[in-house]
Symmetry: C3
């Protein structure tokens, strides 16, 4: 594996989940694999779970880890080509990525969309430039449109907690105070659609009118705007806010009725509730759910380690070839 | 040891000091103890000594270390329960602590008091919530009211430098330009009172009227407001500013006469001078003392490593059980 | 080696280059040398290459690494002596350096000039105080007037890429949007003059009138203000902006004609082009050069690791004595 930026980078989804669970059962079994190998984790935006879980995964594999918070360390990158750099950006991503590639065997990279120009965000030009110029295997730590380590961890969590062979998984829009990227829901949809195609789950998406995700990430998903209808007999409910893709970057004020509550769980098959975190308590998701027996949110976060470790293990094995 | 937040978490004080000094003499003797164990050091406020010394202690024990400067990395935590999170806080401490507990075998946590609501600060609700929700052993890296790693290092330093069996230790208030927490003096008092109760030292506190520390941290301490009287025959003088506990968070402008100087040392038993650092030169403590033979301030800082290492060693041993 | 702050700290320049290239060929050969040794990397200014490459070098030698971004972590140091510290600085460099020296076997330190008082900057008082009070071997990660790890890496790069026994190396001034320190050009000149004295290269400096570097760093260098003349038959062109030493800290607006381009390379011996990075594309140096076959900028950055590793290896060997 040279690149992990989407479910499409995974050859065999079921085997990959299995691999992650084997690593979870025996985290240090491959500690010699990463000996004298260094991963650089590059963040253009703050990170808690992604940074710590990927760092932990790398340490479990015996790697060295170097973290670079470019935003906090005052390193403004130029991302456009053909620009005369006489402004505020201090270094072009061409040089910055290439240099980091010289110091690291594998790189992780996080960037966020600006939510202003849909075409630009959805081209993933920043992430793709980083991949191109770094010259080493790259794992996405979240890009403008996808967050594959999160979705892989989510799928692992579903596999661990499913009570029936083919559970019903519902992704539901939730309210939020600000405009958020579509990366997590896009990515969750992409992974769930793949899982559905492989017969592992049934997948439904529900959101208010106008909050349709980009079609390329939702092949085969059932999409309904009636939340009550969508939640019926759900085994897993994945709660997440996102801003509009159609009316790009716009939010929906006054949508508090979309908050997930115990009341809404009544129509489900005693569904387990998921969220990628951080979560706005009693705004996206009720505190009663988060503190109750149906919540899987901490377990999802915990599984981030094994998702990352499965990815890094494959990359390290490829480096040895 | 599951928690280190106060002298009360120590079973046998003398043995604990001894343990720290054994580690100082042979720092790498227990390097296999921390193999494949990870400590997360979480700071809500900047740290120099605490971060580096605890990191060093963990490395000496063979642990992995992950540092999280939540304040600098832009992660505003919600600490109140029952709040609708529609404001500026991005994550509740319930989730943040639980998640970090999933990635780490031991956590260190630093928070400061706001110095606005005494009851809130002295309830240690933030620290206690972190402990409760993290689900792993926690070492205080300074809390709203105590700084036990500092005080333990101070006591180790006194043990190393005492010339008589039962030295006189004086904690003296010092001037400062801003309102500081009471955590260091509370903690120093707590540890010295325990040491006094065990016959190791005599302990005196001196401060201006109105700067009495909370009584629960000063059992058995002799408290006087005449600094000259207090310093007589002192073997160790611990210099520190703190804001008022009574008139909560208030400072005392124009108190420059309380600054410790060589002149004041004349009445002592050629006392060694201590300070937790950082110190305001020629305002809290004279430069002549800091640069002279009586200063122990660097040695105290150095002993932070062994204090932390003794604590982490006990925690690691308990994890193995 | 107890100090690495200038080419004058190097005993045998040719042997030192050779040592770095041996390490490059076999990076992990001395991994036991740094066992249980800790390096602290202290930055008063942001760093990308220096931090990562020095961290990598230390890891290659088996060391522990602790990074301290004092500027970002809100730790304002007092550097003047005899000051009553009643202002905004929280800690004096005397204590800060001494404390860090207690936790680390080797320290790296970066500071920048303020470009306001030439005498102060060129006294290197801040760097020298850090060295003095830390009490351990110190490697400069760039100081007010020199950047020796960069220059050493540059010289290694020249050695690797030279086509003739004694290549012509030209340091040329370049335009920039803001006033930059003279540390990189001073340092490059210092190393190249030493290399020239040892018969390794011919060295020429070219810059606009008024941009003469301090004479103490340019002994034996040929200095011309006609760039075209200087570039003739050059084998290596080192491009860098610096502010004026004479009219201290002043820039030269409207100097775009000094930008290095392919057109200017025509007069050279198909010269390789170097820059320490970060570089302002199409302002200091044309994108066509950076993206073309003559650029060595990434290779220079890559060689930072081996320069740092050669220095740290010598320091570690001295610690064992």
């Amino acid at each position: 594996m040279k690149l992990f930026s989407s479910v499409n980078d995974v050859t065999d989804l079921k085997k990959f989940i299995e691999e992650a669970l084997i690593l979870k059962a025996d985290p240090f079994a491959h500690k010699s694999l990463g000996k004298d190998k260094t991963i650089g984790l590059v963040f253009l935006n703050p990170s808690l779970r992604t940074r710590l879980s990927t760092q932990k995964a790398a340490l479990n594999l015996g790697m060295n880890v170097m973290v670079m918070n470019l935003d906090k360390e005052g390193w403004a990158l130029e991302t456009e080509d053909g620009v005369v750099m006489n402004g505020t950006t201090v270094e072009h991503i061409r040089e910055a990525a290439a240099v980091m590639g010289e110091y690291c065997d594998i790189l992780g990279f996080r960037s966020f969309p600006k939510l202003q120009d849909r075409e630009e965000d959805y081209s993933e030009s920043l992430f793709n430039k980083f991949v191109k110029f770094s010259g080493v295997p790259v794992v996405s730590l979240e890009s403008a449109t996808l967050h594959p380590l999160q979705s892989f961890a989510d799928l692992i969590t579903i596999e661990e907690h499913k009570q029936i062979a083919k559970p019903k998984v519902v992704l539901t829009w939730a309210p939020h105070v600000k405009a958020l990227p579509q990366a997590v829901p896009n990515s969750f949809a992409e992974w769930m659609c793949k899982a559905q195609a492989e017969g592992m789950i049934d997948f439904v998406i529900t959101h208010p009118e106008g909050f349709e995700l980009a079609e390329k990430f939702t092949p085969g998903a059932k999409i309904v705007t009636d939340q009550t209808e969508a939640l019926k007999e759900a085994d897993f409910v994945y709660v997440k806010n996102w801003s509009s893709y159609k009316d790009y970057g716009k939010t929906l004020p006054g949508a508090e009725s979309w908050m997930m509550t115990n009341k809404k769980l009544e129509g489900t098959n005693n569904a387990k509730v998921m969220h990628c975190l951080p979560v706005r308590r009693d705004y996206e998701l009720s505190a009663e759910i988060l503190d109750g027996p149906n919540s899987l949110v901490i377990k999802e976060a915990s599984n981030r380690t094994w998702a990352a470790q499965a990815v890094l293990k494959e990359m390290l094995e490829d480096l040895k070839k």
